[in-house]
Symmetry: C2
Subunit: 333 residues, 2 copies
DNA sequence: TAAAAGAATGCACACGTGCACATCTGTCAT
DNA sequence: ATGACAGATGTGCACGTGTGCATTCTTTTA
């Protein structure tokens, strides 16, 4: 019988085994599985055949040892209760896998600095790191730079040397939010946001307030602890007299709308609400939330591209890409 | 000056460098970073000091080469638009990281078999795989078993040799759903579910119908394509005459409720609705959905435990653990 | 005090692979 | 016919680490 040679009890099958079976040298096996290597078609075929029979698979960890590179990319994320984050992670991992990278997902607890978990990544020769957590790494950035491991921050904080960033167009969102609310007849505006670690939230808030000032409309800042559904729900009663709200993300906006309705308010008749992110729930019939679409598939693609280009050329100055946002008009304004 | 020895331009610092700086052998360095190894406290201290000064980190990939094990665990998931899946992934990865494993996240497209992506994992010496995708791997299971890599399926299909499974208590959920709806006065029951690949969905459906039969209540099966919000929304108009619905998951139940309301129906006055999973949205004020809580943190913990125990002893017969579900009574019934 | 036991350390090999280099073959132009 | 040349193949070293074994040093026991 010519079935699988051995049940290979625990024993791993190596390139040496394949070489012997195919009657070639071990180097030939290596070349057969290396693109653009110098092998004759017949040899390659023999090797592939033997490999299949033995159930051989190239050990990418060992390969990485000699090539000094790995296919791993760290993905640091926090707050997956926010549906936007979940989609973001899905898009990021899909984009990575599509380009033959393996994402190592590290959940960082809300608010906690990413330094702690990221420290682990340096042990695995990751060829890059994507960060989406609220609190970006700071202390470790230098170490990653020294190790030649590029980092790309998505929607995160201030300029860090040799760290690329992808950020959605916060200025456009803030300005357009204010203009849209005013245009719809709102006189007393407010923006709900946590003063916490979320960088884009702060920027949008700032842009919104600036625009309100320019439009000469009264506007208040209503702070919350976290930009979450619960906080949005609770903060509704702090909106007496307000007839136009920019809620810093949809996740919280859903809570805000539920809170307003619970208090007997009508949306958009009494209060106009505008959110940000265009999470799936924003289009749910219960909300029909007017919001800004932040295309996280495009953003993921941008981030991965940035990462790859910096792997190839680590010397370029840090870059800063802005992803456009677009207003999705629904029923809350 | 005694600062960082060299800027280490590209050059990786290895255990050899540390050994030289600490004035010990390379083996001593290895032992200093290996738990329960035979090293004197002084030597360890010298090594750690030198390592810190040089910015040395043990290369876990190389370590895995000699120890023949890696810290990687594959996590195969699909359908992250369903919030339950997102939470599941968060819990699973957290549980893995807590036990010092590194999760490699592989998104499997909806409906697509997991075989395609899982094939990659065998190249990375993963010490285990957790599968949450709808369509579980079938063809590859034997190969993983031969390679000695344990697999644990979460809420997935039928018995596969030497593959452990964790499944929520579908019987209890189906039965209790029927009983609860009848108790609330419903006369015409229905269950909405996709006949597709989701194993637990099928089981719950079956248990529900069985219970209805036992209770001598009329009940219909209303099929959909996918168990998603959109389908739930659309299927509402197919529920003429029905006054009690078991919706196979909350994600779809939210759509169903929105659909019923859009048609002018009252929940729970006209139609009682009961869901499953207790996703965050189920507790949102807009829904207040009565549902079954499936504790995905507990489930993740169970799955990881099962995985680890099988790493240690691969010979045990395949196991099957049932996670209890609990009815969360809210306002839709 | 001598002997035995134990702890600490260094040497050398192994893990599975890629790649530089040397070697060998066959082809084509001169 | 001879040389140059390109392609295919084998040999040997390197990647960074763990660990068995022998050796040395320290402590305990009779």
């Amino acid at each position: 019988m010519s079935g699988p040679e051995k049940p290979s009890r625990g024993r791993k099958v190596t390139s040496f085994d394949v070489a012997r079976r195919a009657g070639v040298s071990r180097a030939a096996v290596s070349r057969a599985f290396t693109p653009n290597a110098s092998v004759s078609p017949e040899t390659r075929e023999k090797v592939v055949k033997a490999a299949k029979e033995l159930g051989y698979r190239v050990n990418y960890l060992a390969r990485g040892l000699t090539t000094r590179r790995s296919d791993f990319v760290g993905v640091v994320a926090a707050g997956m209760d926010n549906p936007f984050r979940a989609l973001q992670i899905e898009q990021i991992t899909k984009s990575l896998v599509r380009r033959n990278f393996r994402p190592i997902l590290l959940p960082a607890d809300q608010g906690e600095s990413a330094d702690h978990v990221m420290d682990q990544l340096l042990h695995y020769n990751v060829s890059g790191v994507l960060v989406t957590s609220d609190a970006p790494p700071t202390a470790l950035c230098a170490e990653f730079a020294a190790a030649g491991v590029p980092i790309v921050l998505i929607n995160k904080a201030d300029t860090i040397p040799s760290v690329d960033r992808v950020v959605s167009d916060t200025n456009a969102a803030g300005k357009l939010a204010a203009a849209t609310l005013v245009e719809a007849g709102a006189k007393q505006l407010a923006v709900v946001a946590a003063p916490g670690p979320s960088y884009t939230a702060r920027c949008r808030l700032q842009a919104f307030m600036g625009a309100c000032y320019a439009l000469d409309v009264e506007a208040r800042v209503i702070p919350v602890e976290h930009n979450s559904y619960r906080e949005g729900l609770a903060v509704a009663e702090a909106l007496k007299g307000v007839d136009g709200v920019f809620c810093i993300n949809d996740y919280m906006a859903c809570g805000l709308i539920d809170g307003l309705r619970r208090l007997g308010g009508k949306v958009p008749d009494d209060v106009r609400v505008i959110g940000h992110d265009d999470i799936p729930q924003a289009s749910w019939a219960a909300y029909e939330l007017t919001t800004f679409r932040q295309p996280c598939d495009v953003q993921a693609e941008q981030a991965v591209s940035l990462l790859i280009s910096r792997m190839d050329d680590p010397t370029t100055a840090e870059r800063f890409e802005v992803t456009p946002v677009s207003l999705v008009r629904r029923a809350t304004v």
